[in-house]
């Protein structure tokens, strides 16, 4: 393959960019020095580790290892989107719902593509399955986190209105409809915006990567179109499911509004 390799010493040079950000933080008293340093370190370690994991996966390509890798991604994504939801239930309560919303959204987007569009041989071909699943799972994670964040905040802020609707004979679906709609819409809009601006502002990461590593631009573009459409499906399915789950968590079986107790900030002891 024809691409420029980055030797480690040159990689270290880019640390200067992080140092620059740290200096800016100190100068303007943004109080972000620690976050920047920790983030830079952690990001690099995670990526280097993943590089090795991918190497192993590609070399041995055993279905159970690929499944394990994807399960790990799903677990981290679900835990992240269930964490620190203000006015929401505990991370422990939200986790299974987050996981289900992310899994179903990802499966809906991935299965048809890997069966009909980019047929994999074998089905667990890690070089495609892992990175593309990763993109879908990450997007689902963001959508689910946003829907949860908004829906519980809205229920908290509009409790009086929701209860008044219930008192007038509304079902929980009706009483929360306005807020579910707003939450899911808001979570889907970034994905739709990225459809509208793609190529005009920035070239998407995967396409850039493929082009840099020597894929013909017209094929890279086709891959990117597939990815974008997959992301739309992920946002829709995971978003709608998260809205549905959020609503269920907000009402008792007797159609009473049940606002979660204010969760303590350090809720991730789960």
């Amino acid at each position: 393959m024809s691409y420029l390799e980055i030797p480690l010493p040159r990689l270290v040079v880019t640390l200067g960019l992080v140092a620059l950000a740290i200096l800016a933080s100190r100068w303007k008293r943004l109080d972000l020095e620690r976050d920047l340093a920790w983030g830079a370190l952690r990001g690099a370690v995670q990526l280097l580790a993943i590089g090795h994991v991918l190497l192993l996966l590609f070399k041995h390509e055993r279905p159970e290892w690929v499944a394990l890798a994807i399960s790990g991604m799903l677990g981290v994504a679900a835990a992240t989107s269930a964490r620190r939801v203000e006015h929401g239930p505990s991370a422990r309560t939200l986790f299974p719902y987050a996981l289900l919303a992310i899994v179903l959204g990802s499966v809906v987007a991935l299965a048809p593509v890997f069966i009909f569009v980019v047929p994999l041989h074998p089905m667990y071909e890690a070089r495609y399955l892992v990175p593309i699943s990763g993109m879908m799972i990450a997007s689902a994670m963001n959508v689910v986190a946003q829907v949860f964040e908004r829906i519980f905040a809205a229920a908290h802020a509009h409790a009086g209105e929701i209860e008044q609707l219930l008192a007038l004979g509304a079902t929980p679906e009706q009483a929360l409809a306005r807020h579910v709609r707003a939450s899911v819409r808001a979570a889907m809009i970034p994905t739709i915006n990225s459809l509208l601006t793609v190529g005009l502002v920035a070239l998407p990461g995967m396409m850039t990567g493929q082009i840099v590593s020597g894929t013909a631009p017209e094929q890279a573009v086709r891959y990117q179109i597939v990815i974008l459409y997959q992301l739309v499906a992920v946002a829709a399915v995971s978003g709608v499911l998260a809205g549905e789950f959020g609503r269920r968590l907000l009402f008792t079986p007797h159609a009473q509004l049940r606002l979660p107790k204010r969760a303590p900030a350090s809720d991730m002891r789960a």
């Binding site: 009086g160 209860e163 008044q164 008192a167 007038l168 004979g169 509304a170 009706q174 009473q256 509004l257």
Partner: protein, 219 residues
């Protein structure tokens, strides 16, 4: 008189505190009940429990002798009108608000009926097109009452409906509430204003230590 709505031995416990401690109340059709009591004594909590809007820790709410648990919540709640202390307006116009109950069931409330309801609460039809969230506190209270009446409820549960009103308007609203009872509805009104409880001229209770204590028999 047949019992319309009955609260039997209601207990509500929140965060380890017993807010309502075995309160019971029976309201019959055509009957008026006033509940007084100091701030924070649990009057609103009890009324919300009677409206089945909050989970209760023990006890029963019965509508026409049938446990509310056995009824679909939407059925129970269209028979009962519940007005919270400061009723929130729904987005939209006064007309949207007045027609909200029937709209939830896919029905449209005829404009004549909307006007009739507004007149019944002392407002005129010019209000129909006004934005509900621009109204004054007293106007909201009346629109909320009209909105609740659109469901043709059998029992009214009113939480401090006169607190936001000037004395004269307050007495008008009480007169209106009395006429609801005369028309055959059961009425429960929470008010901390003794004169308003008296003006309702029904049975009177005080909420004390989580229970209802009878004060005096009305005529």
């Amino acid at each position: 008189m047949p019992s319309a709505l009955e609260a039997r031995d209601i207990r509500v416990i929140r965060e380890g505190r017993t807010l309502v401690d075995g309160a019971s109340l029976v309201v019959s059709y055509g009957e008026k009940v006033a509940i007084a009591g100091p701030s924070g004594s649990g009057k609103s909590t009890f009324l919300r429990a009677m409206a089945t809007l909050i989970p209760i820790d023990s006890g029963h709410v019965l509508l026409d002798g049938v446990d509310a648990i056995a009824l679909p919540p939407t059925r129970f709640r269209t028979r009962i009108a519940y007005l919270p202390q400061a009723p929130p307006m729904l987005p939209g116009t006064v007309a949207d608000n007045v027609a909200a109950g029937p709209a939830l069931r896919g029905e449209t409330l005829a404009p004549e009926r909307q006007i009739e309801l507004l007149r019944a609460v002392g407002l005129d039809e010019a209000f129909l097109t006004r934005g509900a969230n621009e109204l004054s506190g007293g106007e909201r209270q009346r629109v909320a009452l009209a909105r609740a009446l659109a469901n043709e409820p059998k029992v009214l549960l009113l939480d401090e409906p006169t607190a936001a009103l000037d004395p004269e308007t307050a007495l008008q609203v009480i007169e209106l509430v009395r006429s609801m009872a005369t028309a055959g509805r059961g009425v429960v009104m929470v008010t901390h204003i003794a004169a308003h409880a008296e003006a309702l001229s029904g049975r009177r209770y005080v909420f004390q230590a989580g229970k209802l204590v009878a004060v005096a028999e009305g005529p």
